[in-house]
């Protein structure tokens, strides 16, 4: 005889629970963690390197590198004197909470203020998988086009900050900033947005200051 068992459970609840554990580990160590997502070619690597440079005197940082394809690879971060760990995603299209849980023990968390996770370059898959960072950040870039919020709404729903990279290319590409921002505003009302160029440095200060503020305001004063 057939019997129906009601479940009503989020399909990714196991991942969500693991993400929550990661968050608790970060919190316990007093470290702030950010998840950086973008499509391939949005300038994630350059953006992260410039962010590390801008903040190296202000914060103690570590990197979890999840993007094998583009990658500041972990070696480059390590060469800059930063603790870094490379995740072998085995070709997966996204990072998940278990991968982060495995990477965490390789970082000296209690000696850090900020952990930057570079997710796999992809605008679809990473949106569904929480990894346990405090905030999710998406880097959009002007050459990708202004229709991305409409085409990849899931990605724009779950972020706490949006970077619009490559604004130095605005004169050369077809990118209607108002159309783009209207789409973002529907999906994620009031999300903090930083138009900038990681290449020229324009706008990087505002982003760096915001990040330092949020890290320091979250972190309990050290005894």
């Amino acid at each position: 005889m057939t019997q129906r068992i009601p479940i009503v459970e989020n399909i990714l609840s196991a991942n969500d629970q693991m993400a929550q554990k990661n968050l608790e580990i970060f919190d316990h160590a007093g470290v702030f963690a950010i998840n950086i997502m973008a499509s391939p070619g949005a300038g994630k690597t350059t953006f992260i390197i410039k962010t590390l440079e801008a903040l190296q005197r202000r914060l103690r940082m570590g990197v979890i590198e999840g993007d094998l394809a583009t990658s500041i690879d972990a070696e480059k971060a390590a060469a800059a004197g930063l603790p870094a760990v490379q995740i072998n995603t085995g070709g997966e299209c996204h990072l998940d909470a278990v991968m982060i849980a495995r990477a965490i023990p390789s970082l000296p968390l209690t000696e850090l203020d900020l952990v930057i996770v570079e997710n796999v370059g992809n605008l679809v898959c990473p949106a569904n998988f929480k990894i346990g960072t405090h905030i999710n950040i998406l880097i959009a870039s002007t050459p990708e086009g202004d229709d991305k919020p409409y085409k990849y709404p899931g990605m724009y729903r779950g972020i706490q900050a949006l970077i619009i990279n490559k604004i130095d290319l605005l004169p050369y590409v077809s990118f209607d900033m108002d159309y783009f921002r209207r789409g973002v505003e529907v999906l994620n009302p009031g999300v903090v947005t930083f138009p900038l160029s990681a290449k020229t440095g324009e706008g990087m200060d505002a982003w760096a200051d915001w990040l330092v503020n949020i890290v320091k305001s979250r972190k309990p004063a050290e005894a």
Partner: protein
């Protein structure tokens, strides 16, 4: 491609609930998936046939209830399904709208014997 991970989670959840109910076989799995969750039914089915092999869920039917994206206009109160390239309200053209449905990604129930 994240459908592989999604499918693995569906199987884990279904098996654990079936086991609790001492079921011998899972005959169907009832899924609710919103348009904004970006999950492709055919891919889930493809991975399902492989992953469920050798479990009591082998051959179970996957029933997908698809929820279209739904938005509500703050200005005129109209509730609508957005198009692919604009989220503006089709009645008053306002872009002050809010997503009300379409994020779903859950198992509602399973049928067992």
């Amino acid at each position: 491609m994240h459908e592989l991970a999604v499918t693995r989670s569906i199987l884990d959840i279904a098996l654990s609930h079936a086991q609790k109910a001492s079921a011998k076989r899972i005959t169907s799995i009832n899924l609710v998936i919103g348009k904004l969750a970006s999950v492709v039914d055919e891919s889930v089915q493809f991975y399902w046939d492989i992953l469920s092999n050798g479990t009591i869920a082998k051959g179970a039917k996957l029933n997908f209830t698809r929820i279209p994206a739904e938005m509500r206009c703050f200005d005129c109160g109209n509730v609508f399904n957005p198009g692919d390239s604009t989220f503006a309200c089709p009645v008053c053209q306002s872009v002050r709208v809010q997503v009300t449905k379409g994020d779903e990604l859950r198992i509602d129930s399973i049928d067992v014997e």
